[in-house]
Every structure is written in structure tokens, then in C-alpha cells.
Symmetry: C2
DNA sequence: CCATAACATCAACATATCTTGATATATTAT
DNA sequence: ATAATATATCAAGATATGTTGATGTTATGG
């Protein structure tokens, strides 16, 4: 019950829905890239990404000082159904602004 | 987007999840029966049922002074997937206490 | 018409969630 | 070692949501 509520409440925010769709569209991105793209301060994004991760939607790959967030794969039925629903919403996403230099990170 | 959020936030409450599962299990019930079964005051139930209805999960059939709530049928993919997920949660439900006399209502 | 029952809605309070700015931690570069 | 960068976390205020008791509304029955 609590796990389901954690999953559902992760979806219960406009910012997080956009983040999910953005990461679904562009693949793995670090917090600073999302910060540039969304024009949001870092603490706000960091919080929402944590909630999406705890809700089972995202994974994190740390690489030096960067944290790359991406859609977890595979997603279970309910979560992938939610993601499919989000794809149908016609959400306008901001342009991707890549600010980070991945260098020798293996993603 | 707003419609999806309305659907998701309808799921984002323990009382509402139990109501969904209860109605899924027992079929159409009026508010006073839910009141007896759940031991909750009427205004609280009425509010949650409205949220579930607005979220697209429930329908209402009025019959004299009674309002019978039941799972909407058919549910779309996302909502039925959510309901399926709820069925797997192992939620303990209170016993059904039928207080209403349906009389000549056609349900 | 009046009383009662079922239900919906409102106002007020309590609780939870989101946002922001500040601070902490860890990694990299000089 | 020092500075700079990326990220996480915390505390405080703002906003949203849930709960309760009171009040409306509608339908039924005497």
C-alpha cells in the first residue's frame, strides 16, 4: 500500500511529469543539464528527481561529480502504463541545453 | 495534463484506494452503506467519492434519496491498470454492512 | 405541510507538500 | 592545499489537501 502510494504521489506533480517525459525523450541527463533546460534552481530539481527515483521511475548513474538520471528499464506494468499515458498528453517540453561535458564517463 | 493529474491525485490517498477496492469487491453501494462499513462520517466519504468520480474511476446512480457509487465500466487502460495494481496490494477491507433498503430501485 | 433521511457543500482547522535560499559533501582542477 | 563545480539536504515560508462539524438541498413518508 505504502509503496503504491509512493509511486502514485511521484506522479502527482506537474514538474515531475515533465521531467519524466523529458528524460524519456532525451535519455540520461545530469541535474545541471535539467537545470539549464528547465530554468529551475538545482535544489528543486534534485528533490523532484529523488522523489521520481524513490517512486521507481528513475535510476541514477553517478560519474565523478555528475549524477545522470534516466528512466529505469525495464519499468513494471503500472509505471510503463503511466509513462505511456504521459506521452499522450501533448506536453510541450523546453529545448534541451547540454551544459555538462561527459568526458570519459561511460554511460 | 490537468486531466491526468486529476486522475493521479484521485489515487493519491489511502482512504480512496480502500474505497475503490471496496466498490470493486462489492459492486454498487450508497454512501450510507460505506459510512456504516468504514465507520467514517458522511461528509468525509462524500468528498472522497466525488474526487474518485471526477478522477474517472466511479459512476453514480441516483435513486430517490440514495446515491449508488460503483466502478465505472469500462475503465480505460491506465485506470484499469491502477485498479489491477490495487487488487494486488493485499488490503484488508472492513466487513460490508448494508444499511440501505433499495426497495424498487433498478440497479 | 412537517419531519426525517440521504447526500452535498462550506468554513475552519490540521497536516502534508512544494519552493526557495542557505549550507553541507564530494569530486575535480590549479 | 585551495578553489570551483555538481549535487544533496535542511529550515522556513507558501500553498494544497484532508478532516470535521455545521448548514443546504432534495426526496420520502406521515
Amino acid at each position: 500500500m505504502d509503496i503504491f502510494l509512493e509511486t502514485v504521489s511521484a506522479l502527482n506533480d506537474e514538474t515531475r511529469i515533465k521531467l519524466l517525459f523529458f528524460l524519456d525523450t532525451h535519455g540520461a541527463l545530469c541535474v545541471c543539464d535539467l537545470q539549464e533546460s528547465f530554468g529551475m534552481i538545482q535544489s528543486r530539481l534534485s528533490r523532484h528527481l529523488k522523489i521520481l527515483k524513490d517512486g521507481g521511475f528513475l535510476r541514477v548513474d553517478r560519474c565523478g561529480t555528475w549524477a545522470y538520471y534516466s528512466i529505469r528499464n525495464p519499468l513494471d506494468r503500472f509505471r510503463s502504463e503511466a509513462l505511456a499515458e504521459i506521452r499522450c498528453l501533448g506536453i510541450e517540453l523546453p529545448p534541451l541545453i547540454k551544459h555538462s561535458q561527459t568526458g570519459d564517463c561511460k554511460l
